[in-house]
């Protein structure tokens, strides 16, 4: 699996690197015109999942006009798309939002090339519900084990942060039935989820350490004597 993934990953990374470096090259030489090309800084969405959009790449590099997207696909006003409640990959697959162009013909399909817009989270995900605390490392799964985003998203896990955690069935029992982590951690694809508990369960102690909570001092702080 790792071998198959590696060239793809390299290609994607190299591709995005080229795009970025190209963009920065233009902005370095010419004065960037925000009126013509839109805001210089990328738009960062936090909801429903973290993603970014760079006006410059689309306008300056690909030559799109403002009215290619505004206001048919995206409202000019900030925050309208995420507030719509419909700003999802599913909607894009139906041609809404980014999906208007990112359909596989005009531009790469919205269900491919995830990391063009989404980044693999650097920090581990730490779930504190229903028990404290369970850790998940994106990096280990994508880089070390060669998984793609769609290996887990959105079937096993919704992209939206905290979605699984707040679901009532995010339990070991569900995992044993093949839900969530159990989709792979079934004893065949990956170690069974009823084994090696403490690989993911770092406990309250592990959580405190990760969050930089000082372990209890040996002596409690209420000292009258000296």
């Amino acid at each position: 699996m790792k071998k198959e993934f590696l060239p793809v990953a390299v290609a994607i990374l190299a591709g995005s690197f080229l795009l970025v470096s190209h963009a920065s090259a233009t902005s370095a030489t010419e004065e960037y015109d925000e009126d013509a090309f839109g805001p210089q800084d990328p738009i960062i969405w936090d909801e429903p999942a973290k993603a970014s959009f760079d006006h410059k790449i689309h306008t300056d590099d690909y030559g799109l006009e403002c009215d290619s997207c505004h206001e048919d696909v995206f409202a000019m006003e900030q925050g309208i798309a995420p507030e719509s409640g419909n700003f999802t990959m599913a909607a894009m697959a139906e041609g809404q939002f980014c999906g208007a162009c990112h359909d596989g013909d005009t531009a790469f399909a919205s269900n491919t090339n995830c990391i063009a817009c989404h980044a693999v989270p650097e920090d581990p995900i730490v779930w504190t519900k229903p028990v404290k605390a369970v850790v998940f490392y994106h990096k280990a799964h994508t880089e070390d084990y060669g998984l793609d985003c769609d290996s887990c998203h959105d079937e096993a896990f919704a992209m939206k942060a905290g979605a699984a955690e707040n679901a009532p069935d995010f339990t070991m029992k569900a995992l044993y039935k093949g839900k969530y982590c159990g989709a792979c951690h079934d004893g065949e694809t990956a170690f069974a989820s009823n084994t090696l508990c403490n690989t993911c369960h770092i406990g309250k102690k592990g959580y405190d350490r990760m969050m930089g909570v000082e372990p209890h001092a040996e002596k409690k702080g209420t000292h009258g004597g000296h």
Binding site: V131, C197, H201, G203, K205, G206, A217, E218, K220
Partner: protein
């Protein structure tokens, strides 16, 4: 012998000296220290009848319990994920103040690195309600004693003079000085807070989502703890067996 197989075995260290060795050594200790130790002559419970079933076992044998009920706990150690729901349940049920020193049960962590990969283990601990409890022997005023009904080591707070000898004597760090009670406090398997009210298990066992803590009457062959303790081919161990306290909290992997 297959050396590779052996190397995979966990190092048991000196803490797992065979019980026969231990007992012989302890018997010698009893003889040497004579009247001060009391041993079988003076100790409060008939330790002779509370011993392990066979020479290599830490598990009490059937039909040899001096108490009406004989409560104990099995820890399925590798299931523990340190969620600490047990600690919260214990504090709430038994009104244990939220101070570092004050706990009736706790979870210990051990981090090791195996082949560059960090490995973590959690181990729940609490009073072991030993059959030969060092704390009970050393208490000058019988402020701590084995409950004859249940074998639970309990406190009579008003008799505690606060000499802290029981704390020094306990191999399991199960005791602490409670400012509220102005006496030593410890786990009593929720005897007053839950068992007295007819509950069948302790607060910590009830709160455990990972089925780590199995509480029950070792004497009763229908209990789960009895079955776990008598499962063939399961390795069962206790903490610090060399102290000869004959603990009633047993550890195994699920």
């Amino acid at each position: 012998m297959n050396v590779e197989e052996l190397e995979k075995e966990k190092n048991e260290g000196v803490n797992s000296i065979p019980s026969t060795e231990r007992r012989n050594f302890l018997k010698m200790g009893l003889a040497v220290t004579g009247v001060f130790l009391g041993g079988t002559v003076l100790s409060l419970t008939s330790v002779k009848t509370a011993r392990g079933g066979n020479a290599d076992s830490v598990i009490p044998a059937e039909g040899q319990y001096p108490y009406t009920k004989h409560y104990g706990m099995v820890m399925r150690q590798n299931n523990c994920i340190d969620c600490e729901k047990c600690l919260d349940a214990c504090r709430e049920t038994n009104h244990v103040p939220l101070e570092h020193d004050a706990w009736r049960t706790n979870i210990q962590e051990r981090l090791t690195t195996v082949d560059g990969v960090e490995k973590r283990e959690f181990r729940p601990i609490l009073c072991n309600h030993c059959n030969r409890p060092p704390c009970v022997r050393v208490c000058p005023t019988k402020a701590t004693y084995k409950d004859p009904e249940t074998g639970i080591v309990v406190m009579d707070y008003k008799k505690c003079i606060g000499c802290k000898t029981c704390m020094a004597a306990c191999p399991y760090n199960a005791r602490y000085f409670s400012h509220d009670k102005y006496a030593i406090d410890k786990c009593n398997f929720c005897l007053d807070t839950r068992l007295a009210a007819g509950e069948k298990d302790t607060a910590c066992a009830a709160a455990c989502p990972a089925d780590v803590r199995i509480f029950g009457d070792i004497k009763d062959t229908s209990t789960r703890i009895y079955k776990l303790l008598h499962e063939p081919d399961k390795k069962i161990w206790v903490i610090r067996p060399e102290c000869g306290a004959l603990p009633n909290v047993f550890y195994m992997n699920a």
